[in-house]
Symmetry: C2
Subunit: 243 residues, 2 copies
């Protein structure tokens, strides 16, 4: 399989048709829709959206194509619902940028943001291709980028003010946009550097720390020396292997 | 058509089968191969590599599929040859980073680099997808990223030393990698912000200036105030509409 070099027909973590220990109650349509979304997200993240067909999704779930069609009449509707989930989590988080005044706030802010990106990483893996085929994503993602850019400016201005300086928009506008680019494409960059392993679940921890660190490295010159040391300490603590 | 929303069957700039004003001399194989590469590059840039088939390429050239096959037995060989062209131009350019000591050198360095990226922009539009399917690109592109990272460190260190300071690797390593990300994904970011127009030829000039400026905005905090003003002046001069 192109992306992770393992077969999409291999077993994922969730078995397709679990043997229930007692007579199954009639499934609520809402619960089935939720289960479809969970399994689809896992398959998209693992193999890339272009490599996952609705046939594969229904086979993986152990349901008929007709049942899948009843809940989601097209693959794009699955993509859109998963995107909407992601957006619903990301937008309130981006609002939290307004409260960032200390380098430690910024560290947790970016780390949490990268966790959200990781859970829906299929969106970022084939971003241009997804947007070119899907009008809903095209318009929503552009709005999301604007929210991201606003959040980056807030963080940058908050930390600059905390360092006792007045933010200069001519200095910070370019940096804020560059931070959006690093935030948006960090996982793609990890993938290009190591396509066979970068997006596998056991690489998540290290990839998220590197992503947060690299976005924050653009803040570094705007920090006081004490805050800079504090940031480097946080990176070392997070990058250390768990004991 | 997904990417540029116009049909790949529309006429490109080069007409498929020009009426020659005089009897045509027998074509040299080498010239045909070169013409195939030129037309393929134009189609890849315009519609995205995944949306261009060898059938479309031979139709566009007005040659038989067999003739195309004689020169390039698979689409990947076209991709690889175009990548090799790009790499052959990019590597010597990246070496020039060693001589950057003034903000104006850096500006011309990044602007020229973005011009090279623009001429082979199809590589950057669907980078993850191309790498996942092509072992030659996967290995070569990783090496190219390492050359890019080295070049970014050289520029950063050169300008820091020119400002009379000693570069601190803990400060600059993260910035250099972030600069590679902005350099690599700037055109993707332009595309996501405006999928219908970003990669059309008449947007090249402005996109290249924005790309060079945003990579350099990461250098900004490392510059002396006079150099910073100089950079902002260059950006204004380049961003102004031609008279």
């Amino acid at each position: 399989m192109p992306r992770s070099r393992s077969s999409p027909h291999g077993k994922p973590d969730a078995p397709p048709a679990p043997a229930l220990p007692m007579p199954a109650p009639a499934k609520k349509p809402r619960r089935t829709a939720q289960r479809i979304l969970e399994v689809t997200l896992e398959l998209f993240n693992r193999f890339g959206e272009p490599n996952v067909s609705t046939t594969l999704i229904s086979a993986e779930l152990g349901i008929s194509p007709g049942n899948l069609y009843y809940h989601f009449p097209a693959k794009d509707e699955l993509v859109n619902r998963l995107y909407d989930q992601y957006e619903a989590e990301a937008l309130p988080l981006l609002q939290a940028a307004d409260g960032v005044q200390h380098v430690e706030d910024a560290w947790f802010f970016f780390h949490t943001l990268f966790e959200r990106i990781w859970t829906h990483r299929f969106l970022y893996r084939d971003l241009n291709d997804l947007l070119s085929k899907n009008r809903h994503l095209e318009t929503r993602f552009q709005a999301l980028l604007q929210h991201k850019a606003r959040a980056m400016r807030e963080v940058l201005h908050g930390l600059t003010r905390a360092a006792g300086r007045a933010p200069d928009p001519r200095d910070t506008a370019g940096t804020a946009d560059a931070m959006v680019v690093v935030l948006t494409y960090w996982l793609s960059f990890e993938y290009v550097r190591d396509p066979r392993r970068a997006l596998e679940p056991d690489h998540a921890g290290a990839a998220l720390v590197r992503g947060a660190f690299h976005v924050m490295s653009l803040l570094m010159p705007h920090l006081e020396p004490a805050h800079k040391q504090h940031l480097l300490g946080l990176v070392d603590a997070y990058a250390a292997p768990p004991t």
